[in-house]
């Protein structure tokens, strides 16, 4: 069992969840309540990483992260090194790859909140912030938990993107999924087996959480 790789994976998954939570909330609510004609475009852009091959995403990120590219160069000027082969690099990759997982469940949950409920709250003198906090969030939290669970599990298993930009550095970019691949390549079935079982369990728990939340959502509507 590669504990260092597990800790990298857990750190990556936790930070991805933490950073995507406000983004997912804001984007999910905006898309759910928007009546703009650009909405389908916004939804398509959010969903793109879901259907894009991870290696393609990894390829573009590798290009963008290089110190000769504008983004990578700017990053280097600010922080002293490029993004390829760094934890910050795989974190940014992970944020992009997980956007749909963080946004879509939240968006579905907000869509299920009747618009007249919000309007009733405003008529009763609640500020929009207050409405969000006291009325909407209690209704959409199952969606938020689903989003977090999916993002967490998906980050634990992210492989293609991280293989492209990571460089398998111990304690920095060698995640559990990469470590499994390396163990299989090195003919260490036992090592790969233990780590795979861990990821399988994590996936199973995630699905349990997501389905449990879906049940709750149905409950609050009925």
């Amino acid at each position: 069992m590669d504990w260092i790789a597990l800790s990298v994976s857990l750190k990556l998954a936790a930070l991805t969840c933490l950073l995507l939570l406000p983004v997912g909330l804001w984007l999910g609510r905006t898309l759910a309540t928007s009546r703009s004609r650009a909405k389908p475009l916004g939804e398509a852009l959010v969903a793109l990483p879901l259907v894009m091959p991870p290696t393609v995403l990894g390829f573009y990120l590798m290009q963008a992260f290089g110190v000769e590219a504008p983004f990578g160069g700017l990053w280097q000027r600010l922080f002293g090194e490029g993004l390829n082969f760094t934890f910050e690099g795989i974190l940014i990759a992970s944020l992009v790859a997980n956007l749909p997982f963080a946004v879509q469940p939240v968006q579905r949950a907000f869509e299920a909140v009747p618009a007249n409920l919000r309007e009733a709250a405003w008529c009763s003198g609640l500020s929009p912030w207050h409405t969000l906090w006291r009325i909407e969030l209690p209704l959409v939290w199952p969606g938020i938990v689903s989003a977090l669970a999916l993002t967490f599990a998906h980050t634990l298993g992210e492989f293609g993107v991280i293989l492209m930009v990571g460089g398998a550095i111990d304690g920095e970019t060698r995640t559990l999924a990469i470590a499994i691949y390396d163990r299989v390549q090195a003919f260490d079935e036992a090592g790969a087996g233990i780590m795979s079982a861990m990821l399988l369990l994590a996936s199973f728990l995630t699905i349990g959480v997501v389905y449990g939340m879906a049940g709750r959502r149905r409950g609050c509507r009925g």
């Binding site: 590798m62 290089g66 110190v67 000769e68 002293g80 090194e81 490029g82 390829n84 082969f85 293989l163 460089g167 398998a168 550095i169 111990d170 691949y181 390396d182 163990r183 299989v184 390549q185 090195a186 003919f187 079935e189």
Partner: protein, 284 residues
């Protein structure tokens, strides 16, 4: 409209037939599994072979260890060219190959760096850039990366590790090392601007697309265990694969390989010698 009407059924059947049709075509080009250090050399050799014989081949490049596993599991490869002869011998022992095959080349390791990334080390001290990168990092001047293939499972990674250990730079280089999944990816990493360079297959450094944007210096052969590369026909290989296997042992093919820095073997067949590392067998 239900898909289970007569027309719908027919369309479904036709769809399945189309999906399965590749399995039904008998005389398709054989698939060759080759180590990633052969990426360019074998491509050129195969082109020449096809031009001469009119027979097509399908080349698959990847990590030798991966192919070894796939062949053991019955993947439909007909010819296997490994960068580590141990894999071929292990597969032969397990009964997946026609015979123990032949040594087709001896690989060499090179220091590869992007063009204009600093001083190219002299041939007398090919690790000078590694030391320079380590010193720069120690002095707090950024983190110039050093790329190599993963020594856990890539033959060229094992050799690179031996070279660094011999020079007592393995520990010191740890914070700078980035690992490619195979030696091709290591070369790709070595040529990013984030890297000072890398220790990769000489055959890749000599390939035109890489040579155009890089400089390299050869690592002395005595600094690491020899990279003896062996190939063999997989059990049940067809006629075209056999012809290519024979052709690769001719002078013309050897000249192509030599152009990519592969030293020809002293003789065609080398029985397993002493001190040969047989990888643990992964079982059926």
């Amino acid at each position: 409209m239900s898909p289970f009407t007569r027309a719908g059924c027919r369309a479904l059947l036709l769809g399945f037939a189309l999906l399965l049709s590749p399995l039904a075509i008998a005389a398709e080009p054989p698939t060759v599994a080759a180590a990633s250090d052969l990426q360019f050399a074998l491509g050129e050799a195969a082109e020449r072979f096809t031009a001469e014989t009119g027979r097509e081949l399908r080349l698959n490049f990847g990590s030798s260890g991966n192919f070894r596993r796939q062949i053991a599991q019955g993947a439909p490869f007909e010819l296997y060219l490994s960068a580590d002869e141990g894999y071929v011998l292990a597969l032969h022992e397990a009964g997946h190959l026609e015979d123990a095959g032949v040594v087709y080349a001896v690989g060499r390791l090179a220091w590869l760096q992007p063009r204009g990334q600093g001083e190219l080390p002299p041939a007398s001290a090919p690790l000078a850039a590694v030391r320079e990168a380590i010193d720069a990092h120690a002095a707090g001047q950024g983190r110039p990366r050093l790329a190599l293939a993963n020594p856990e499972h890539a033959p060229y990674g094992v050799a690179a590790r031996q070279v660094l250990e011999r020079a007592e730079l393995w520990e010191a280089s740890a914070p700078l090392r980035v690992l490619g999944e195979n030696v091709s990816q290591a070369a790709r990493f070595a040529l990013t601007r984030d890297a000072r360079g890398g220790l990769v297959a000489w055959s890749l450094a000599l390939a035109p697309p890489i040579a155009a944007r890089s400089e390299h210096v050869l690592i002395p052969e005595s600094w690491h265990a020899p990279l003896i590369q062996r190939m063999a026909l997989v059990e049940g290989a067809g006629e075209t694969a056999r012809a290519f296997y024979a052709w690769l042992q001719q002078q013309e093919a050897r000249a192509i390989l030599a152009g990519y820095g592969f030293r020809p073997p002293d003789d065609g067949f080398r029985p397993p010698g002493d001190g040969l590392r047989l990888p643990e067998d992964a079982g059926p």
